[in-house]
């Protein structure tokens, strides 16, 4: 009604917890002299007096999403239901609004690191692997992956080295290069493709803590297909160069009178 103050807003207490906000129908008030002004949505706790000639306008409130949910709870003598808040208040308030970071300049996470590649390594270079189960084997470099590791292949038919990742630091780059400019390496060969699968941790039960699943590496059809796709392009290119096939089949070793610092690779 015009000129009348709306009913006083009452504060509702909910058993000592933070008072819930009650929404009133009268949200904003039009006053011809002053203009439009908003009433507090919550509880003022005091009686609001309006200048004469104010028109209280009813406004339709949009339906808010429910803030509470009633869930059933099992068990005996439990009350059967619980009222669960959907949007809970934070359980921790930091003492500073913006935490002060320690001074560190240019410290980036691993994914943003700058990947370098030695100048001597380019697609098609023959590398000598120095570590791992394929140490000493000569292998063809295909491309550098996102994490900086090198994608490398035997080819499998020549020296049993499959499509694999190798670390740049643990390879010797020879000056022998195969021209693989015409070769297409499937785009699906990325770091996630080669990443070691984490075995499912056994639940905290007794019974063979050391009996882990998927201990051994299982060869998948996907890998076989990709290997074939790459090697079928690579092998003819290798066969073109005389003696290169035998070279890739052989392994590198040091012998008497052979000094690595004097060798030209």
């Amino acid at each position: 009604a015009a000129g009348e103050a709306p009913a006083p807003l009452r504060r509702k207490h909910d058993g000592g917890r933070t008072p819930s906000v009650t929404r009133h129908d009268y949200i904003y008030v039009k006053c011809p002299d002053v203009g439009l002004f908003f009433l507090a949505e919550g509880n003022c706790g005091f009686r609001v007096c309006f200048p004469p000639n104010t028109i209280c306008v009813e406004k339709k409130i949009k339906e808010r999403a429910p803030s509470k949910v009633v869930k059933t709870v099992g068990g005996d003598k439990n009350g059967g239901t619980r009222v669960v808040k959907l949007r809970k208040l934070p359980r921790y308030y930091p003492t500073e609004d913006v935490s002060r970071k320690l001074r560190s300049h240019g410290v980036k996470p691993f994914s943003q690191h700058r990947r370098k590649l030695r100048k001597s390594i380019s697609p098609g270079t023959v590398l000598i692997l120095l570590t791992g189960r394929h140490r000493g084997k000569r292998v063809v470099f295909l491309k550098q992956l996102g994490t900086g590791l090198l994608l490398v292949t035997g080819p499998l038919a020549l020296n049993r080295v499959p499509l694999r990742r190798a670390h740049q630091k643990f390879c010797i780059a020879t000056s022998t290069k195969v021209d693989i400019s015409g070769m297409k390496v499937p785009k699906t060969l990325t770091d996630t493709y080669f990443k070691k699968k984490k075995l499912r941790r056994p639940k905290h039960q007794e019974g063979e803590i050391f009996d882990t699943e998927k201990e051994k590496y299982q060869l998948t059809e996907q890998r076989k297909e990709d290997q074939k796709a790459v090697d079928s392009q690579l092998l003819p290119l290798i066969k073109k160069v005389p003696l290169l096939k035998g070279y890739l089949r052989s392994t590198f070793c040091l012998s008497n009178g052979v000094y690595p610092h004097k060798l030209v690779f």
Partner: protein, 142 residues
């Protein structure tokens, strides 16, 4: 005392090989002796300016050119070209060995593999022929 007719002497006109220093690997002719340790040396056809050089870094070769002592560069050059020292040097086994050493040092890993394969094949052929000869000799004896 053993008969050594092919001793190499330091003499005027002796062609020497420089073993170390800035002119390593070049040939020069000894034109004069300065004192106990140094010689006046000139290599007009090998790119060595006329200068004094210690004997220590000179290794004597078999070649001698006919040149009077302290002869001027023009005449050293003439004598050198007349004796065709450069050509003789290239054909000598000393120079060939140096060349082979250089090639071996710059061999790549692939080259080493190829050499290994070639040697293996060559030795196989040699052994095969040897065995044949041995067999023939053994049969002849019997």
């Amino acid at each position: 005392m053993h008969q050594c007719s092919s001793l190499r002497f330091v003499e005027i006109g002796r062609v020497a090989f420089i073993a170390f220093g800035p002119h390593e690997g070049k040939l020069v002719a000894i034109v004069d002796v300065i004192d106990q340790n140094r010689a006046l040396v000139d290599g007009p056809c090998t790119g060595v300016k006329r200068q004094g050089m210690p004997f220590k870094c000179l290794q004597l070769t078999d070649y001698v050119i006919k040149v009077p002592h302290s002869a001027r560069q023009k005449y050293v050059r003439r004598a050198w070209e007349k004796a065709e020292i450069n050509k003789k040097w290239e054909e000598s086994s000393w120079a060939k060995k140096i060349e082979a050493r250089k090639k071996r040092a710059t061999m790549s890993d692939f080259d080493r593999y190829k050499v290994m394969k070639a040697k293996k094949m060559r030795n196989k052929i040699i052994k095969h022929e040897l065995k044949k000869l041995q067999k023939a000799a053994a049969q002849k004896k019997a």
